[in-house]
Amino acid sequence: MAPISSVVTTRLIVALAVLSICLLMASAAWAHAVVLETSPEDGAELSTAPREIWLRFNEPVVPVSVRVLDASGTAITSPEGVSREAETVRVALPDGMKQGGYVISYRVTSGDGHPVAGSIVFGIGTTPEAEPADTAASDGAFSIISVAAVTMRALHYGTLLATAGGGLFIVLVLGHGTASSASLTTGLCLTAIVAGATSVLGVGLAGATLQGFSVDGLLTAEVWRTGLASSVGVAAMVAFSGLLSSVVGLALKGRVGNVALICGALLAAASLAATGHAATAPPEWLSRPLVFVHGLMAAYWVGALWPLVKVLREAPADEVIYAVRRFSGIAVIAVIVLAGAGGVLSVLQLGAMDAVTNTPYGWVWLVKMTLVAALLSLAALNRQRLSPALVKSTTRDGASAYLLLDRSVRTEIAVVAVVVLATASFGLTPPPRALLTQDGAGESRRHDHDPDGARPAGERHGYTTVVMAGQRMATIEIDPAQPGRNRFKAYLTEPGGSVVKPLEAHIDMANPGAGIEPITRSLNITAQGTVDGEIDLPMAGRWTLALDVLIDDFEKAVFRTELNVPEGAGP
């Protein structure tokens, strides 16, 4: 077969496989193909990083998604690295894999088109448990794609606020059609273009992150479709229309121009409320409007800085004084509203004071607040000292008041840039409220007092739940319910309270949110009718657990529960 047609055939097969999976998704995953052998073996501890991993099935299979994820849940392999020869699927591994735990999550179709999925866990230089969660999180957070996403987001926020706020400055401070506002047009068009371009790239990066692709995934249409369908896509479209409105507003004069500029600013603020952690913090009816207001006020302030410098340097003295006074009058209100909205959002996001010092999100917040404090001091200095001095100096020639204010506003711009970067970095880490209340586990853990001091201290971090299957009851303990190795124990009772002594028991752990297919571990059965074993939870997130117990030759019971494994919570 010629190479080209072989490529076509492969693509056709993959397409058919995907189609058949879609059709079969609703039905149970009948395991028509089974894994016979893998390299590395499930649960293996390797001393050095392998070049590749492979899975051998009992029959030829078509890989649909075979990925290797590190302890933070980031895929380290690309779909292009997956190859297949008959019943063996190989995945090339990147160089420089760090010590730590990894998961091979696979989904293939067997010859009859049935999907087969599962996961295999291995460790490099360690037992296959996760790295300490905080280092794992930061390793994942600073992958190329997330650094690119943060840079892109920061650039987008900065230019979006500059464009929207520049428009507001023209409408509210300078007046549309004046010579000073005309001098801003070119600059604002430029920021609008950058803001537009970064919003488009942001969509691609969001798609790549969601699909688990790396930066080169941007070349595939699928990534862009995924990105566009996400809330980032919605935000980008709102931002785009806002930018368009602003540019039209700059071109048009008079009332229509004013309306277009204000519309642009409102849409820009709305785009910020369309996506992100802050806008989705419960209760959303409160957080979304707050993000909108926070964004609009930030736009007014941030967007005025560059025009202020421009006016300070170029406009005649009376116009400068007029502009500074007008800006300052509105800015006082804007800053109060900005800080108020930001304060409420912080409370919603952080949940508790100790989150500030205990979580990466809290650290980023602390950096932002320190810079904001500096920014507010500068603003106060400008308002209380520098602006009155400027008004007093009658001519602008040789007046140090102009130079001082110019320098101060330029410093503000520099600080604002870092504040925006910090704000963009919030996206890297989950907000503490997510860790606390994702499934109520944190909530109940806070109520999890020790009634009589009888409980060993070590159990306090674990998670205990009670699940029914028919009339049988299982009390399930997972300790410490954190990424890494966990002790699993279940007590099974019949309706009357007598213990169940099963013939066989195993547990399936999956993390659908992170795309991890079920990891199966068999459990020991003790003489007292409890089942226990060691399980590895490679990463944080919401895990679904199914405890499968064979009661006798004819009956089995499946106890299902979900477990929220928090990130970064040290033992």
Partner: protein, 164 residues
């Protein structure tokens, strides 16, 4: 089939009908979760703690879970269960209690219960008190817990002990 058997069957059927008819008077709903026959045993005047029993069933399609409880008559309410650990029954706090569709979760003496710690008043037979149950998805519901005699092993079905 003789007359006696028919009579017994009829009697049982009537009992069941009466029982289920009464369920409405004791039943509470939070979203898709139904709380049936909440009851507690009366306590001695100085007793520091008490326990609440009931049956939780899920009428919906998705699993839910009870994550906490509270009542104004006690310092705190915890979710506890009894487990046989190495043959010894132990009481153990749990983080949550799952309520899955199709499998009602019984809270009963010797098993699951809501433990009331630091009772502010003793539980007097014939009275009732409010208890708020918080479910992960279905939200909260406040139920009235009927107090029965100290030796009771199951809820009274008559409803005659409700305070008039």
């Amino acid at each position: 089939m003789n007359i006696k058997n028919v009579a017994i069957n009829l009697g049982m059927a009537l009992c069941l009908a009466g029982w289920s008819g009464n369920a409405g008077a004791h039943g509470y709903k939070a979203g898709s979760i139904e709380v049936e026959h909440p009851w507690a045993r009366s306590t001695a005047p100085s007793a520091p703690s008490g326990a609440v029993y009931m049956v939780l069933s899920n009428e919906g399609k998705d699993a839910d879970r009870l994550i906490s409880a509270s009542t104004p008559i006690a310092e705190k309410a915890e979710l506890h269960t009894h487990i046989a650990d190495d043959g010894i029954m132990r009481m153990r706090p749990v983080s949550a209690v799952e309520v899955v569709p199709g499998s009602p979760t019984p809270f009963a003496p010797g098993g699951l219960h809501v433990m009331l710690l630091g009772l502010k008043q003793s539980l007097v037979s014939g009275k009732a008190f409010p208890l708020t149950l918080n479910f992960e998805k279905s939200g909260s519901v406040t139920i009235q817990v009927e107090i029965q005699g100290a030796g009771a092993m199951q809820p009274s079905h008559g409803g005659s002990e409700l305070p008039k």
